[in-house]
Subunit: 248 residues, 2 copies
């Protein structure tokens, strides 16, 4: 959690990292339940159905960002994020890998890909993120991506936790997380350097910190919605995925 030695602005980097230490969704009890083997298969399925919506919007969010960038070199650097998710003609991307996970937990990937059953609160949170990146200043848009600073740790916990506790977890069903272990650090190294380079004035530093805080809220709200619907009180709102729906 300490700034890298080459940081252009170690004070800001430390404050950004502190936001992760306090607010990143690895601290949410749903993740503890999931990684410790405490989730029922239906709770895992509800997570897969809902998190699909987030996954599916990430390339749209990144394209929205690129649509506002006048600098060809910055667009070029950013484009690999979309490739990582959408894949290429020869290589599956994160979207396909998430659908492999869906299959692995017994869900029909076409059902999951349809977006049916996604909790309204999940959609609202994710759509707020896409809207944010589409409309807020570029600095805020880039800073909001920096939750990836904290992602490798949670992915490692998740891979270990899923493999240890759940029958569905096999290399092919959890390949999504394995790939993110190498993709996220590459992306975030670029994004962090860009933010530290471009947030120089106090109001810019504040903007970057607020943007990262906002993003932690987007992630946290999704797990709160999942908890309310499928853990306690376990009251699934109208339109939310019902156990038994969309199975293979």
């Amino acid at each position: 959690m300490t700034p890298s030695q080459s940081s252009a602005n170690p004070g800001l980097e430390a404050r950004l990292r502190q936001i992760g230490a306090e607010r990143y969704h690895d601290k949410h009890p749903f993740h503890h339940l999931l990684h410790s083997g405490g989730c029922s298969i239906d709770q895992v399925r509800a997570w897969v159905v809902n998190r699909w919506y987030y996954q599916s919007r990430i390339p749209m969010k990144d394209a929205a960002f690129m649509s506002r960038v006048e600098d060809s070199a910055l667009r070029r650097a950013w484009r690999s994020r979309i490739e990582d998710h959408d894949g290429t003609a020869d290589r599956a991307g994160g979207i396909m890998r998430w659908l492999k996970l869906a299959e692995g937990v017994g869900l029909d990937p076409d059902y999951v890909a349809s977006g049916r059953g996604v909790l309204p609160a999940t959609r609202f949170a994710v759509d707020a993120y896409v809207r944010y990146v589409r409309e807020e200043p570029l600095l805020a848009a880039v800073a909001s991506s920096l939750t990836e600073l904290f992602a490798p740790a949670i992915h490692e916990q998740r891979i270990a936790g899923l493999l240890k506790h759940y029958d569905f977890a096999r290399p092919e069903t959890i390949a999504y997380f394995q790939h993110r272990l190498s993709e996220a650090p590459k992306d975030v190294a670029f994004g962090l350097a860009w933010v530290l380079e471009n947030a120089r004035l106090p109001h810019e530093e504040e903007m970057a910190l607020r943007a990262l805080t906002f993003k932690t809220e987007v992630l946290w709200a999704q797990l709160d919605a999942l908890w309310g619907a499928y853990v306690e009180p376990g009251r699934i709102p109208p339109g939310g995925w019902q156990p038994g729906e969309g199975l293979l």
Copy 2:
């Protein structure tokens, strides 16, 4: 100008092609002047400065499109357009090639890339196109890209005309157009098939036709602005590029 034999909707395809026959900017007198060797070097420079703005916005337009596409496969098919313009780590894209043309005509590529000197009317037309793709229905957005149906013919005329009439024209300065000869047909084959597949109802066919008409207007308006500022009456508006500005 006849529909391809495999057309999903030969009637619509013929009407789309008719729009090109009547309204594509290969019919604009500026292009006749340019391709026949009638342009002064300053008129060529004015064209390079202004057309830069269009080039520079194309990848932003394509990213705006992708930001609205929920289908990963459609985004993946569209992404190559951005790659063609922005290039990759190892391979220059269309943006770089346009700046080679700028150098070839004696302009400082940094000046051209700054967007200074672009005619306000050029900006308004191009920005209207980006706005259109960002906000109008996806069918209209795709249909507006179909001016590429008519692009190979104009690029061939341009390559031949520039090489014959202008000292600056060499393979490396006009590489942009050479690349478009292979890139545009690949893109437009996909876009045309998509439009023919998705414009089924009469109001959808009308939407596609209107979108392509709109795009021909975007292209034509840029040449009208160039003509007024640099040919006749040759009255450069405030802020427009002045001969002598931005030279190497």
